[in-house]
Amino acid sequence: MAEDQTGPATASELPPDTIAAVDGAGPSRHVPAEPPRPSVGLPLRQQLKHQPAAPQARVHDITEKFTKASSALNVGQLVKDEFFTLFESIGALEIMDPKMDSGFLQPGEALEDACDTVAPLLPEELIGILDQLLCYEMAWHTGYPLSQTLFTSVYIDRLLWPEPRTLEQAQFYRGPIPDERRPGLMLEVLRSYCLALVKCCDFVIAKITGRDYFEEEDFCTHTYSRVLFTQMPMDVFQRELDAAIERLQDGTEMEIDPTVRDAIIARLNFRKDFLSALDLECSLDFIDRYWPPVIANLDPINTTHQLGKAVPGAFSFKIQRRLASTVPPRPTVELDFSDAFSKLKQLCTDGEEAVRVMSLDPDPLEYQSFLWAFASRKPTPLPYSRSYLCTLLFQESSVSIPLSDLKSLVFPCSTILDPSNWALSPPRNPMMPKPHRLRLAHLIDEFVERAGQAYLDFWTALGQNRCRLRRMLNHVIIGWDQLQHDAGFVDDDLMRVVGEMGIQDQVIPFPLTTWTYHKKLWMIEKIVLLGFEQDIYLPDEYAGMYLFLSSVSRRRNALLQTVLDHFHDRRSALLHSDAHADAQEVQDGAQYITSLLHEASGIRDLSLALSGFYTTLLYLRLIPRPTRPFSTPQLRDELRMKPFLTLTPQEMFPFPDLQAQILPYGAYDAPDSRLWEDLRGEEYWRDIEGHIKGAKEAFAQVKKLGAKAARAGGVEGAWGKEVQGVLASCVALGVEVAGVRRAVGWGEGGEGEVRTKVKVEIPGEGGRYSGGWVVGRVGRL
């Protein structure tokens, strides 16, 4: 159990920077017994090379000292020093407890399972072993440690331990072997497969740990001091596989049923292509050619799985006892072949999808959409796939990311970003003032550099599992809040220069602040929507949380309206001075702003409608409200608003305002009489229905403008589905609101009567058109 707990030592040795530190995203689990995680960016493989040799054991007899010291204590008296932490306690083992003490043997039990790794295998048994290895490999990919998966293979164990110095030494036996015991064809084939499989693991670990930031909870990089052929180049593994395939095809060594033989060859071919696709140095020029052959090999494996014959003795739970680990052996993780196969298929298709990032327009907004769509794929991409995408993306992005994002939002065709500004040289005489345009360039450079880290953090968050994405955005917005603060100063300088140049009317006021604030608001909206998606909020919190969301998107909408006005002004001015090409460029750019504007107003209206819907349900007592003897609404509001408390400007409602809005008729269980008057009137419902209508129209506009305008042209399909899902939520909400209204009209008896007629069900994530938009279903009783 200790393996997944960070001792405090490890925690404090984390890289002291970035979000990792704040989120504590810290590798708290599966922390290698080796030195702590290397500093940012340094791949683990580096570290493996310098693994310190285990200190020489020396034996001290402490019996006497111990006896003497313990005589000072009563029997049963506990002693604890301050360095014994929870983590130590969890890591501690009880000697002679069969479940904890890895050296404890039941009477007659052998320390190791006997297995003859050079005993001949049948071709069917080979298939059985290969498929079982695949199951363990996929179990590892889904987050279980090697010790409970692939490292239970006695064959892999032989290959890796004692550590071979050359590939030649990596055999199922060590040292000299009589000729008649030499492994036959099936074992040679198995060896070539296992070697390549181990190399695949090496590549996977290197890719994942090569990211600046990865989630320990998703993926376990521990190799228990086994070296996964880190130093050996890929082609030697390919050659082993080729040789094995050739010998099988040759067919003179051994009589094999052709179907079985082809099934084995398919597995070898798959392994070969898979290894190439995982290669760290695979060529970016041909990056789209790696996954299709892997995918083509999958079906032949699946359809021939039943030819295999299981060889239980090829795997042993007891190998864990010999792995360098402080934890007791844990059960082997069994993943069905069909589950493993679908994971594998997913891994490959996600890889193929990730490659498409290379063909996108080099536009950070397109990348952002791509990252978002990738993270939203179902089933959610495995950690390897996410690292794979991020590696591609980060090595691709030579464009100045923040700069071109800035241009899209606030600097349409602007003097401020005119490339010629950067071509000017400072005056020879330092006493002379710098040219205005050069000063503009310097100010922008200063800001872009400052924004770099915030931007990187933002993208890093987009590459995490969804739970972590939400938690990480909570921290990322704090960075953007500070950036917004700094942007204010640069904006002041910028506006001064612009003023001196007499071109104020060409520049939107406070452009950098506007840009930063917009991004921050977008993230806050996502945080709330992800909260709904992940069922963080309880139903009786919905009214308040959707209200908060609507207030954030209202601000974003207002900001975008100013931006759009600026685009229109620019276009008119450019047309006026006959700069038709520039005017056209501004007009094209305005499409993006228009799309954002509609999206923001759609979110505002839909969340307002939902807030009204849930407030109504609360008054009708159709939503459960826990009694909560230990809590108050104010304390809960503080907890909910914690990530936003320090933001400037203040985003959340002051508590009394919030109360006034979600409790418009007083307490839910003692509303004032106006409630029923209003519920039976027109106006109450007209408001809610009006918001639904507004949302529907806004999202219809977004859809009509299309993926390209939203800068999601590269993921048109996924984007379209997302918009469609929100539209469907609007329609569904319309239906449910009508249902409530009808129920209210049925009797004169008040909420008690309504409750006898209808009930509300909150659909789980699978039952929603869109994860973040929870539309309760009103059903008749």
Partner: protein, 199 residues
């Protein structure tokens, strides 16, 4: 829930609720261990129990059958300054004998623990529970806990958890991290599988 209707079993309020006593470790600890480990896929070592009970025995409450003093339910907690800057209570373990579930015994034990922590000036109380542990979620949420985070693959068995939080004092959210104590981690609870089914 087996035995829930068995009228010979004592009801929640007929049980004896007592605070743990270090002097009686030999009587209590084996029973506590046995009760807790029933719902774990792998046992905690005795040191985990001692870690809590040695330091915060007064935050451990037990429900005993008055007829034979057998252990029916237990809650184990701790309370200490947290890296985030708050004085934080943590409910580490909670279990009730299967035959006695669904009668408010756990609720009563948790209330006693919360009262004790509140009396000792805790800012907040947190815990983790599996997203599928309906009984536990319902119990804590009824008392006032909110879900603050979802933790993917929190437990060794690969299951996902919710972090639940109860603020006891205003201003808790604005307390600032104590730099001396290092980064704040999400994965530093017990991270243990809590129910048998989910192994």
């Amino acid at each position: 829930m087996s035995g829930a209707n068995n009228s010979t079993d004592p009801a929640a309020d007929e049980l004896q609720y007592v605070q743990y006593e270090a002097a009686k470790e030999e009587t209590y600890l084996p029973a506590i261990r046995q009760l807790i480990s029933k719902d774990l896929s792998e046992p905690y070592s005795i040191y985990v129990y001692r870690y809590f009970l040695y330091q915060w025995g007064d935050l451990c409450y037990m429900a005993l059958d008055p007829t034979n003093s057998s252990l029916i339910g237990v809650v184990v907690s701790k309370l200490e300054p947290h890296r985030s800057g708050t004085f934080r209570g943590y409910i580490a373990m909670l279990a009730v004998q299967e035959s006695h579930r669904g009668r408010g015994i756990a609720t009563k034990l948790v209330c006693m623990a919360i009262d004790a922590m509140a009396a000792r000036d805790a800012d907040e109380i947190v815990l983790e529970t599996e997203v599928t542990n309906t009984a536990s979620l319902k119990l804590y949420e009824r008392l006032g806990f909110l879900r603050s985070k979802k933790l993917h693959r929190y437990y060794l068995n690969g299951n996902t958890a919710f972090r639940l939080v109860l603020y006891l004092k205003e201003g808790t959210a604005l307390k600032r991290p104590d730099a001396e104590m290092g980064p704040v981690g999400d994965y530093q609870g017990l991270g243990m599988p809590q129910t048998q089914e989910s192994v």
